[in-house]
Symmetry: C2
Subunit: 243 residues, 2 copies
Amino acid sequence: MDFKLKSYKKDFDYSYTFGAFPTMELINFKPEAVVKVLVSSNYDKKSSEDSIYSVCNDKNIEVEENDKLFNKLSPKENCYVIGVLKKFNSQIDKNKSHVVLVNPSNMGNIGTIIRTMIGFGINDLAVIGHGADLFNPKVIRASMGAIFKLKFTHYDCFEDYINENGQRSVYPFMLKGAVTLDSVKVEKDKPFSIVFGNEATGLSDDFLNYGTSVLIPHHKTIDSLNLTIAAGIAIYEFSLKSK
Amino acid sequence: MDFKLKSYKKDFDYSYTFGAFPTMELINFKPEAVVKVLVSSNYDKKSSEDSIYSVCNDKNIEVEENDKLFNKLSPKENCYVIGVLKKFNSQIDKNKSHVVLVNPSNMGNIGTIIRTMIGFGINDLAVIGHGADLFNPKVIRASMGAIFKLKFTHYDCFEDYINENGQRSVYPFMLKGAVTLDSVKVEKDKPFSIVFGNEATGLSDDFLNYGTSVLIPHHKTIDSLNLTIAAGIAIYEFSLKSK
């Protein structure tokens, strides 16, 4: 792969990890996707045996010191390592439990939700709609590289997702939810889907027709919970309830 | 109050709410702190009876249309309303339950935690250390104005906080926590403090000596939970357990 690296755009067939931690996750969990690793002259080469240099050397990954590219590619001043990766295909497992995000719009939120999912053992993400680009460097960075342990699939609409993913218990999270989170019963032998709407608009009333809609009760003193907080609480609770 | 408005700095005695929603929260919950409201010519004046114009008119608050100031003050293009507020003093209630943040560093995270606290009925926040500025417009914006319903106090160190806030159950959240969140018992007749460390460093081992340290168990596939997610799960669980 030989090309001139540019500031990220959605239609590229490659993307970037900014920072040593997510780059290490990339190398360890998706080594086949790594194109090369860029290192700034500010990176402490002698830091430890686990340095990017020794890990890349072990795996025959090219490391290039190139300060000019850092200024061009990296949005953050304290970023000394950039991974260049080729985008890869991914497919969720229909026999596993899923998180489903309907038209998510904030890249940082998607990454934070991915990090939370992986932390609580839900490793499959369905994204409804094509507005969100999971390879956006902001998603990768907010996920702290957890995206390299994730399986994910995009669907045009929720109907397509349901049709392709068979028998499962569906729980849309909504302010109009029929049951509260603390009283939801989760069947232990059946995979579940917990479904969240867009940051600004939530899920439409159509979702009241799918499975069991769930409410996280909160005081009326706030308009709604932040999406990542609602998803974090739900993922934690469902991971406990399904044990 | 007559002065030239400038881009926010920590040492100002005034700050800003960016956006109609947090500005409305400011007007409704801290009307005495409002200096004036700025409106962009892009703001839809006829939108509804609840418009900024009618609310400010009711409360004798000056509204100024001033596009020049928007370009100077607002970080976001889609912001059409800015509230100018005088900073105010606040004091936590020692008989109530608290969230305690030790040296928090990310303004957006602090705001998101405040929004979650207010949503689950914990209205008192202690901040240890003076690095974080709760009046930073990024805190206000991420809180969606929930900060105007919050009581908060800064302390030099955790010892000072404990000395001034009397008998209470203390729960530091740590990766080395002695008990898991799902097994923590919360005394219903005693106020609690749930304590969280800095985004990057967490809480030091010293905190193992205070109260009951708590772990939110997660898979080793991630390094740690995002601070706002850990705090969100803890606040939700403690609000349920203390009912």
